[in-house]
């Protein structure tokens, strides 16, 4: 057998000019017709989008599909229209949230905004002064403490739910899922009531404890899925080699589920990092930098945003937007860093293709 030059065009990718034009028309005509309807009748744009454009687009696409492939073409075309339409819809929603956050928060952005605290800032102080440095520190501390406490708990729960054959598993799983529907303000009130009963002062520590029940179900459930995905073959292989259960778990199952467990932790952090209500109830805020989680005031980013959002003064409103943007950037950095860290490890473990083909 000899090598042949690669053909220029893949047979399945040949361009059918006639159909291309049909698809182009089917995409443009509904838009133009909808625009015409809006201009003539003065119909509300949002109503027209759903009530006029979507049906027209469906009809046009179905017609093209029917001409090309008959009845099965109609199904394909309808699916494509629905998927593209609603995916675009959601993307636009998401993009507009990000856009408003970036455009409003951009005014506050400067190096100082990330590093300074708000100690000498009043409602009318220019944005050049003050920042969210103290809130970043507070958020990292509060969320960090919650994570340190919750991750072992959540993963232990996931281990119990996947590895044990106990009969109470079902109840525990149901309860965990029920907790995931707990309103965050209730978690805050619960911790607050404990603090009042025991006569404890409000502190960052209480905030961490209020975030715990919110983070736990997320980590437990995602980690459970990750552990469940590890083939039972591997566990059997380890046990058949004479491994006690705990070694089989720590040396074989846990490494195999690592990237899933990292995802579980990330989703858990994402779940709580923007939580506002529990922190407002349990953590006293201030404008200076504090590293002490266990007594006194400490600022967090969600509380910072909440604190300034309702202000009647423009600089304060800008600070709120800036704080929200910083929160988003913080999450993006956390996620990016963790992804890169866990990817570089898994890359190493991928099969080396060149050697494998020898």
């Amino acid at each position: 057998m000899s090598f042949a030059p690669r053909p220029a065009v893949q047979p399945w990718a040949r361009v059918n000019t006639g159909r291309r034009i049909q698809i182009l028309l089917a995409s443009i005509v509904p838009i133009l017709l909808t625009a015409a309807v809006i201009l003539v009748t003065g119909l509300d744009r949002n109503v027209a989008l759903m009530g006029v454009f979507l049906p027209l687009q469906l009809i046009a696409a179905s017609a093209v599909g029917f001409r090309a492939f008959g009845r099965r073409g109609v199904g394909d075309a309808a699916l494509i229209v629905f998927v593209v339409f609603f995916a675009t819809f959601v993307l636009v929603l998401l993009a507009s949230v990000v856009f408003s956050l970036v455009s409003q928060g951009a005014q506050a952005m400067s190096w100082g905004f990330f590093t300074q605290n708000n100690r000498y800032v009043s409602n009318t102080t220019s944005l050049e002064y003050g920042g969210v440095g103290h809130a970043i520190i507070g958020t990292l501390l509060v969320v960090g403490l919650t994570t340190v406490v919750t991750v072992p708990l959540g993963i232990a729960m996931a281990i119990y739910l996947t590895q044990s054959q106990s009969k109470t598993k079902g109840i525990i799983r149901t309860l965990t899922q029920a907790i995931s529907g707990l309103p965050s303000v209730v978690a805050g009130l619960f911790i607050l009531s404990i603090a009042i009963t025991l006569d404890w002062q409000k502190s960052g520590f209480l905030g961490s404890m209020a975030l715990l029940p919110l983070m736990l179900p997320t980590i437990a459930r995602v980690a459970e899925e990750a552990l469940r995905l590890v083939p039972v073959d591997l566990r059997y292989a380890a046990l058949a080699l004479g491994a006690p259960n705990y070694r089989a778990f720590f040396q074989v199952i846990l490494p195999a589920a690592k990237s899933g467990l990292v995802t579980a932790i990330l989703l858990g952090v994402a779940r709580i990092i923007g939580e506002t209500a529990p922190l407002i109830l349990t953590v006293p805020i201030n404008n200076g930098t504090s590293w002490n989680l266990f007594s006194g005031e400490i600022m967090t980013l969600p509380a910072y945003v909440y604190n300034y959002l309702g202000s009647a003064f423009v600089p304060s409103q800008n600070r709120a937007w800036g704080g929200a943007l910083v929160l988003m950037i913080l999450v993006a950095i956390l996620f990016g860093a963790t992804r890169i860290l866990s990817r570089s490890k898994s890359l190493k473990s991928k099969p080396t293709k060149e050697k494998a083909s020898k």
Partner: protein, 261 residues
């Protein structure tokens, strides 16, 4: 390499197995003499794999499993209270139907995984790795890539790696549950050669659906059968030569000649 452990005689006495309330095996009495290869044959669903898993206490890992009878390793009941499952499995190794190397480990680490998993100290790791891989006749193929991931190997190589992984534990008995069912003829032949060589140092029990394979590798053969709605059991047990060429039971005769099953 430490001196090889002596092969052991394994025997089952009145082994019956239940899953939930359903009995799937009834009164299996077999003897696996030291240094002999025993093939377990029979149609799917007759309990061969279930039986082989009772021999190194892997059976009890399945939820709802039940067992009656005893398994003796050199006269000691492996289900006795003073004999725990972990030490049974260290002495009696197992190779599964589907190759299952540890995907997060390199070839080298896979071989040493048994020692690590059972909490032993690894003193002469390189030697253990080379000896085990040589015994599974895969050394020449992987000696230059011991630090590659195990899943980069082909299916047949993975299975021989799994055999090598079991051999690193230096077992007295090796159980093989259809080790070649997912492999091509070339890999199958190499594994059969490996089995022949290994039988000088250990007792081997192999489940197989391949009649020719049973004839090629085994000294004695047990034919399992489960009639409709009855638990499975051994129909006939004897020298391989006799089972294939002059079976006493008509059903054995039909099966080995391909008339049913």
């Amino acid at each position: 390499m430490n001196s090889l452990a002596k092969a052991s005689t394994l025997s089952s006495e009145n082994i019956s197995v239940w899953f939930g309330q359903r009995q799937v095996l009834s009164d299996v009495n077999l003897v696996f003499p030291a240094n002999k290869v025993t093939a377990l044959i029979g149609p799917s669903g007759c309990g061969k794999s279930t039986f082989i898993r009772t021999l190194n206490r892997m059976h009890e890992l399945i939820p709802g499993a039940g067992l009656a009878g005893s398994v003796y390793l050199d006269g000691k009941d492996i289900y006795a209270e003073d004999f725990d499952a972990v030490s049974v499995r260290i002495k009696i190794g197992m190779v599964f139907q589907k190759p299952n190397p540890f995907p997060t480990m390199t070839i080298r680490d896979n071989i040493l995984s048994g020692l690590r998993l059972s909490g032993r100290k690894i003193e002469n790791g390189d030697e253990v790795v080379e000896t085990s891989l040589r015994r599974a006749s895969i050394w020449n193929e992987v000696k230059d890539r011991l630090n590659d991931q195990a899943i980069s190997l082909s299916g047949g190589q993975q299975q021989r790696l799994c055999i090598a992984r079991s051999l690193a534990m230096n077992p007295q008995v090796l159980l093989m549950d259809e080790p070649c069912s997912a492999l091509d003829p070339g890999s199958t032949r190499r594994i059969e050669e490996t089995i022949q060589e290994l039988s000088s140092s250990m007792t081997i029990v192999i489940v197989t659906h391949n009649m020719q394979q049973a004839q090629r590798v085994s000294d004695q053969t047990a034919f399992f059968l489960a009639d409709d709605n009855t638990p499975g059991g051994v129909v006939e047990f004897g020298a391989t030569e006799q089972i294939f060429n002059g079976p006493i039971d008509q059903r054995t005769n039909d099966y080995v000649n391909g008339h049913f099953g």
